[in-house]
Each structure stands twice: as C-alpha cells, then as structure tokens.
C-alpha cells in the first residue's frame, strides 16, 4: 500500500494526523509530512479512515 497526498488539495487541517500520527504529521511550518509512505497492511483500516475523513479528498492509496 502506497500513500499519495495531493498537496495542491491538502489544506493541512491535520485530520489525518489525528487518526494516524505515526503516518501523517502537520509540522510547525503548517505543511503536512507523510512520515510513512508505505505502511504495512495492518495500518490499512486507519489509512482508509484518513482517506474518508480528509475533507479535501487529498489522500489516495495505491495497491
């Protein structure tokens, strides 16, 4: 599973960070950083939740 964020859409509201802080982090500069771009299968449910909860539909998952 590979996480792709469309940074043109992302508005750094950190919803994803709240769900999976080990994968997504919004830093002091107010930009989103993907800490783990290829998380394991065990994280799929949480990543799916991030995809759904992102109000900008900025996160997609390949594979």
């Amino acid at each position: 599973m590979k996480i792709v964020v469309d940074f043109d859409l992302c508005e750094s509201n950190a919803i994803c960070m709240q769900i999976a802080p080990d994968i997504f982090e919004v830093r002091d500069d107010d930009f989103l950083y993907v800490l783990d771009e290829e998380p394991g299968e065990e994280d799929r449910a949480r990543v799916d939740e991030c995809v759904q909860r992102c109000p900008k539909q900025a996160i997609s998952v390949q594979g």
């Binding site: 508005e11 509201n13 950190a14 919803i15 919004v26 909860r53």
Partner: protein, 405 residues
C-alpha cells in the same frame, strides 16, 4: 446481529459514507441507497466556495469515484423520495419524483441520513433573484446570477454559509451587503469579541455589513429590487442569498413510531429504534462526552456518524459503543481558514494561546468550569487539531493554556 439487508435513506455525505463503512465492515447483504436528488452523490462545502467561484467544475464534487461506487454494489435509487415509514411493519413508502409512481419496501436495517434543508424567508416565493444555498442546483443558479453581473448582492444572515457566499462574491468583484440580526456575526456561538473579529474581516474585504438589524421585507415586482430592514433603511439589490440556518428533513417520519423532535432522536449509540439508526445533519443524540443532546451540522460529523450508525446496525446491543465525537468544522472565507472544535458557548472563558487577533492568525481556547471545551483557529489548523486532541483527553482549561505546541 445478522442483518439480511440494509436500506439507507439520503444519498449524500452521511449516507454514502455509511454504505462504504458497511462494506468495509464486511457486510455482504443487499444495500439499497435512496436519494431524492438526481445528481450522483456530491460534496456540499465547495458549493459556497470553489464551485460557486467558478474555479471548480462538477467533476470535482463527486463524493466517490464512479468505479468505487460500482464496487460498493448498491441498489442506488436516485430521484426517489421516502415519504413514510412505519416502525411496527417496517414499511418504507417511496415516490419516484420523475413519474410520481409510488413503491413500498419492507426494510430490515434502516439508516436515516436525510440531512437538512434551508430555512427560507416568508413572502419571497415567486420573486426572482432570491436564493438559498444547499444543493448543487442552488449553487448553479447563484453562480449564473453572479455571472450576469448584478449591481449588488445582498446576503441575509452572516453565519458560515452567508459569510462564505459574501467572500466568494467579493472575490468575483461584486458589490456585497450582508445583513445580520445578531449584534456581531456568529456572536451566539463565538461571543461578541470573536464575532467582532469576523465582522472586521468582512469589512476589510469591502462588505457593507449591517449588524443588529433584521430584514422586514424583500421587495420587487416579479424580480427582487430591494431589501427593507427593520431600522427603516433600504438596500437596493438584484441578487439576494438567504443563509439563515437549516431545518432537519425529518417530517416524513412523523407518525412512524420514531421520536421526531428537531431531527431524529437517537440514543447515545445513534440507535433510533431496534434496527434503525440515524446520522448526519438529521440526527440528534446525547453526546456523553459533553453531557449534551446535540444535532451537528458539520461535514466531519456526517462522515463519522455515518460510519458509526452503519456499524451500529451490525452489532449486538451489548457491543454497541456510544458516539462521543468532539465536533469539528472549518469555513473558508477570503484567505482565512476558520476552524472550530468542541462546544463553544458565548459565556465560556476565552484565551488566545497563539498568534493574535490583530494579525487575524491565532488559536483561542474556551473553558467552562476549568474544563477545556473548545478551540477556535484563524489560519491555525495544526493548533486546532492539537487542542481538539486535548479536548478528547478531557484536559483542564489551565492545562490547555499551559500546553505548548
């Protein structure tokens, strides 16, 4: 609980996210999704922002991509309205809006996600140029009216939708007046001081904002010409957008055996009756985290509650979990991203914890009886989310003020 089939009424945000959640939970039975709009499920927030501005087309509004929708294997019935439900017999009455033919389903699991519609101003029926904004068609109509180059747009109500419409109209170079009956925009939620900040932001962007004054009448001969205010003043207008709140779409359930009172009344787990749940703008439930019965009209809540209400239909009563979110929403106005989490009341103690009101970039926390109950941010998304987590942890107000992010 093994459900044979599940019917979802309302094919928008809460309904579609509920359907996705059912499949993710492994539910393999038939899912019927009924919605009275003809468009494929679409997202509403852009309707007052990028879509209204003309920056986005309809392709950007889809709530799910067509292939993903196919994967859900739904019996999707668009242009069909639910007109009645009878709890004892579980009969759901339907009408096809195209040919007015009626139908009846006997439902097993039922999830109600019929959302809300706009409150309107009486006496404006049949007057061209007066709009509300809830649907894609509403947004298209307002966009067309904006493109026609009106001399002045009057927005009635400076709540979040009204404020966004005003901001978008200003962005298009239109002259805008906005009328608000409260002393300051949103002062009932944010208090007067923060309401005052919102007011200044509008004025700085050239909006003629009139506060503390009501609308007496919207007048014109076939087409709107002017808005008459309660202080006797008159504003000439050729487009009026009314944003004075919403009403939950629950009337069709009167007499169903469910409790209807400003929405569908649910228990703490989103259950309205055995095998019946509700989610999104239409649902009212006791949020145990805040000890308050609430109905939340925010995007994030529709997503989370849609998923929760779906799960609730699949589990035994003994395994059911309470729905205890910290409500969160955003509003984009001009170059400001306003975000709020928690439950803020005008009497709560407020403290700016980062940035300043003067620079219009800050986060402020709200406390009640030394408990952190809310956070408001202007262009401070990261802080809002951090404080939202503190609210979730049940932090005290003093701890929140001392926290460093």
């Amino acid at each position: 609980m093994t459900r044979r089939s599940i019917t979802i009424v309302g094919a928008s945000l809460a309904g579609i996210r509920a359907a996705e959640s059912l499949r993710r939970q492994g539910f393999e039975g038939p899912i019927t999704l009924i919605g009275d709009e003809l468009h494929a499920p679409y997202d509403r927030p852009p309707l007052s922002k990028q879509f209204l501005a003309g920056d986005w087309g309809t392709d950007r509004l889809a709530l799910t991509q067509p292939d993903k929708l196919d994967d859900l294997d739904l019996d999707l019935r668009l242009g069909v309205r639910a007109t009645s439900f009878d709890l004892p017999s579980r009969r759901l009455g339907l009408v096809d809006l195209e040919d007015q033919s009626t139908d009846e389903l006997i439902v097993d699991g039922l999830l109600i996600a019929t959302g809300a519609r706009c409150r309107t101003l009486g006496g404006t029926e049949g007057l061209d140029g007066v709009f509300v904004l809830r649907s894609l068609d509403d947004s298209l109509a307002i966009r067309a009216a904006f493109l026609a180059g009106p001399a002045r747009v009057v927005v009635v109500g400076a709540g979040f939708i009204g404020a966004e419409v005003a901001a978008t109209a200003r962005g298009l170079g239109l002259e805008v007046a906005m009328v608000e009956s409260l002393p300051q925009p949103l002062s009932r939620v944010l208090g007067d001081e923060m309401g005052g900040v919102c007011a200044e932001v509008h004025r700085e962007h050239g909006v003629d904002l009139r506060t503390g004054v009501g609308v007496e009448a919207i007048e014109g001969d076939g087409r709107v010409e002017r808005v008459r205010l309660s202080d006797g003043s008159v504003i000439e207008a050729d487009v009026v957008v009314v944003g004075i709140g919403v009403i939950p779409n629950a009337e069709w359930l009167e007499g169903s055996g469910l409790t209807i009172d400003n929405g569908v009344v649910c228990d703490a787990t989103c259950l309205a009756a055995p095998g019946v749940t509700a989610a999104g703008d239409v649902a009212r439930w006791p949020n145990e985290r805040f000890g308050e019965v609430m109905r939340v009209e925010h995007w994030d809540n529709a997503v989370a509650q849609g998923a929760h209400a779906a799960r609730r239909l699949l589990v035994e009563d003994s395994e059911a979990e309470s729905f205890v979110p910290v409500p969160w929403f955003w509003s984009d106005q001009y170059d400001r991203k306003i975000q709020m989490a928690g439950r803020i009341g005008p009497d709560d103690e407020m403290r700016v914890v980062t940035g300043s009101l003067a620079e219009r970039r800050f986060a402020a926390v709200y406390g009640r009886a030394d408990r952190l109950v809310g956070v408001l941010g202007f262009n401070r998304p990261r802080h809002v989310m951090r404080y939202r987590m503190l609210i979730e942890e049940g932090a005290s107000f003093s701890d929140a003020i001392a926290a460093e992010f």
